[in-house]
Symmetry: D2
Subunit: 200 residues, 4 copies
């Protein structure tokens, strides 16, 4: 394969990008000045080089130390650990500014029929963390998507954590019900059941 | 206006129908056999004639008595009353088969800036019902959309009911949080806050 | 089936309407005043009663005579006949105000695999018309959708008309190419071929 | 701005990419192996280095010579020149395999209110080409989008070319009418007019 086709192929694996848009990306780059193209490749290299995985929560960050700014912030609530699947989930939660505890990024989810969860998510590393934190951990919040894969991952996590967490550590999941802006008429039966069960 | 234009106009007020589709409805009827058109108008008249408003919950029903099949069913939980805005909300809840109590249909919602709630919803009738049921009423569940109008209506109902309900009657609203199939990454901050606040 | 379900079913056959919206139509009618419902059924009956099929072009019209206002208008170009599939196509053409001749409404199209075209469209009646008009007919314009069914119908019409039309009668089809607002990059190959072949 | 934000910003200028997806691109790159990231930046640099602008048609190509494979192909019809706005238009036309002549890529279009067309498109270079080709040029096909900007660009090109082309050189534009798959009922009046005017 020549370099043009190979670059198209790589772009077509970018999140949300198909073959046609990948081709447009290549044209876009071909039409840019050499200076602009050099800035792009330099930045990609620089960002990648500066990107570290936090040795506590495993999210990507770029401040050059081993532990990210949240994990090393003493003002965060050290007794609560939220488990999320991906960096993008972490960012959405953090942007909402309602959670003050620590995080653990799984690095993915376990598909419903998958037999080897440990290859898809950082399960071993998570359990070591829970074990090490011991009695200082008052609550573990499992924050997965409410999709089949997310629910499956939640169940795997719950089972695995229950076996090793101390009895006083609460294991919770995000509340389910009507999302903001929902119209009752179009809600599915499971959401109705959750909204009714979680009424208050 | 001739009858053709007037019929188009009436169809254009049907829920979800615009002028173009209203025109297609008229063509569709013009192309039907006289027998089929007669069946349609007979059915519309018959359904309208047989439609009563239940004297308890105010929903439309067609069994010919004054009280609907749910309100007159002794097996329904007589101690719980769910308030919904419209018949279509009632149907979605009933289809989910998770609620076993009684209903009250408001007949609408109160827009955010509306000053006269009593003209948009059956508030007076609702309060009479709550008053009459008295201590037999253990819980009132307000089930409105989580839209601005729905939230506004919920607040109006809560205030009005609190003033007249007995202290032992619980007033609740549907739980909020992640709906089924939600992806955390795309959740709005208010939904995150609700999902976190309602974790369990 | 009770009248409520039957009315829902009839509405669900209206153009573009599914079961859920059909149900909302029924609710909408149930919630209307008896006067409004009577106006609706009276108008439907009236429109149907007044609707005639023009004995020349076969479109629906409501002026009470046997021939529609266009077919009986001496100012229309009597030498040109446009064949369209449906009344709605006729209306779109007429609204564009660029065509000054007469029409013939087929009443449908012939699906690609259909073996009996005469049951789907007014082919016999069309051929009688072409035959009767004879040498006064200078051009027949076949205006079908450019979909597979439309193209199939066009081919059937072309073959049938050629056999009986006088040699001096031109048989034409609508021009193909780029529609207004089209972006070349997203055009399909057949449209490109037509646009190139019809360049001018 | 740190390198992370700057890279996000650059990605957000890629065609069809907004801020949110740009952020996901950065995450995607952060999660890739160093080898994969190096392959990406190497390919971008290589493609850019190998990309030349053809000295005849001005499209991007990568075969290392000064003239592209189409312009230097003696089997292409040397008497016909098609003018397109962008490389992506060239690719769509070429993929349809119906055009056998040569191309000229304008490099853009002239927005409707723009006063300086020469800054947006390679007008001067185009006119030199037309001038140089002289009587060997039998036809110039202007293939612009049928959008307001495309039509405006077409008018500018027509005027400018007419002034300098030889009288025997035909100047044509792509045919307009119904595109493949079009439904007559939903066609706009201008498309109807074109389809009728270009009937055959």
């Amino acid at each position: 394969m020549d370099s043009l086709r190979r670059l198209e192929e790589i772009f077509s694996h970018f999140p949300g990008i198909g073959p046609r848009q990948a081709k447009r990306f290549v044209h876009y780059i071909q039409g840019k000045s050499p200076t602009a193209v050099k800035e792009l490749t330099d930045l990609i290299q620089e960002v990648k080089k500066n990107t570290g995985e936090c040795n506590q929560c495993h999210r990507f960050f770029t401040n050059g130390s081993k532990t990210c700014t949240i994990c090393s912030n003493p003002e965060r609530d050290q007794t609560t650990l939220m488990i999320v699947a991906r960096d993008s989930d972490f960012e959405t939660i953090e942007k909402s500014a309602v959670y003050k505890g620590l995080y653990f990024v799984l690095g993915g989810t376990v598909p419903v029929l998958d037999k080897e969860p440990d290859k898809k998510i950082r399960l071993k590393s998570l359990l070591e963390r829970v074990n090490k934190d011991g009695e200082s951990l008052k609550e573990i919040i499992i924050s997965t998507n409410t999709t089949p894969d997310g629910d499956h991952t939640r169940d795997i996590l719950k089972d695995a954590i229950k076996k090793i967490a101390l009895p006083q550590t609460k294991i919770s999941v995000l509340g389910r019900g009507l999302s903001t802006g929902a119209e009752l008429e179009y809600a599915d039966s499971e959401t109705i059941r959750n909204a009714l069960g979680n009424r208050k």
